[in-house]
Amino acid sequence: MTTRSHFLPTSWQRLALALGVAATLAGCATGARGTAGTAGANPRDPYEKFNRQMFAFNDAVDRVALKPAASAYKQVLPTFVQTGISNFFGNLSDLWSGANNLMQGKGAAGLSDLTRFSLNSTFGLAGLLDIGSEAGLPKHNEDFGQTLGAWGVASGPYLMLPLLGPSTVRDAVVIPIDIAADPWAYKQPVGWRNFGTAVRAVDQRAAVLEASNLMEEAALDRYEFIRDGFLQRRQSRITDNGEQKIRFRKETRQDDAPANGSSIMAAYPDDPGASPEASTSAPVQSDAKRIRAAYTDDPGPTDAAPAENLPPAALAVSSKPALK
């Protein structure tokens, strides 16, 4: 057993990394030039041209290889086998999640993850059974990018990585750290390691199969849907659904602030106010008026008046879905 192999991730991960770095560097140049004159460029996505190309590539790989494999995996393998595989790799990831939780200052969560790992590895038959969850220790999913985010490092622009999927510049840069912290990366022999990595990828794809089918139907433009959904989800995971305060950030962002009325409505700059009710028209509450008046882009109640003069019957009709 040479010491060299301890620090080398599996060959396909290295390839993906190399591809990612090369493509990023190449793409940054073309991306910046490409979007210079694009109308409607999203400020959070300056590399949109590059990202869309990567998305098309990933989508093709997914459609041709990963999704069929995941569907077959889900259909063919018995549920307990799938659960066992998912638990096994989930257990391995609990170590790094625990370490990240501790690094973010969440002592209880970190210790809970480490306890999960020890419980599941021993009584859970090397991780095949998830006893920890049944014992009331919830599963967390933390990586180093989230730790950096919790410590105030801004996410940087959206970046779609080849094979690895959507990410941000901050998270992409620390991927090697996450890979080095993955216990499975040190599995010998290399054949088992690669096989396990492939099985893990298929299992993770199978876990989101239903959600991705749902997204296919819900999205008008899948690239944008994935981008906007991912960026929000990423931020929500860093703040743990509003529970975690971000350190060292001078400006309090919307996601971190406690959710009271005015901070909620600050997220909706073009809010026209509540829709007119089908029942008797009650006067608009003065609170809502005051809140709306705080937004520069708000046309105010006068411009919304024509809409509010729609006959009540028409609006009552809209409560019956126009299906078929």
Binding site: S86, Y268, D270, E277, L323
Partner: protein, 214 residues
Amino acid sequence: MKLIKHLIAMSAIALTAFAVAAPTPVGNEAPDVLIKRISNEVINTAKADKDIQAGNVGKVTDLVDAKILPYVDFQRMTALAAGRFWRDATPAQKTALSNEFRTLLIHTYSGALSQIKDETVDFKPMRADPADTEVEVRSQVNVQRGEPIQLNYRLAKGPSGWKIFDINVLGAWLVETYKGTFASEIGKGGIDGLIKKLAERNQQLANKPVKAGK
């Protein structure tokens, strides 16, 4: 065809309105109590009904109609997703856009309802001033495999009680997620272009059966 449906619906609503003697006390419910009640009712109904679990479109739609729709302000949701373009829309466009958006949401997220097996929902404490007219209710759905699914709601208080105007699943707010898409579609073909695109998508979805849960 649609006009006749509208007329029938209008008369049905009108008759119902006359039939109801007094306003329901439900309008005075606190927002977190309201969401808890809706969640429990929807989950219990979905779990108990074998047709829903088998993916019966009609039954899922009935469930959504009865338990969820009355508490959602779709027009406001659509307006927020359309952003600054809402001001420039005619009333007819506004109604059409709201209807199409609502149909899209019902079609796609009804599918999720048929997947409900034995999930439980936990609610986080609500952080709101008693005088607030906009609040956020946070919850999570505990699933068998993996992390709990985050599910948050934003409600605004209107004359007939609290109404949902935004929903957050797995950290992504619906309005925010559709905003970009709406903006680029409107940029390409105006509001009518967006309405047309949504109508086409709804047509496609109407012809697909809802998948049954595994």
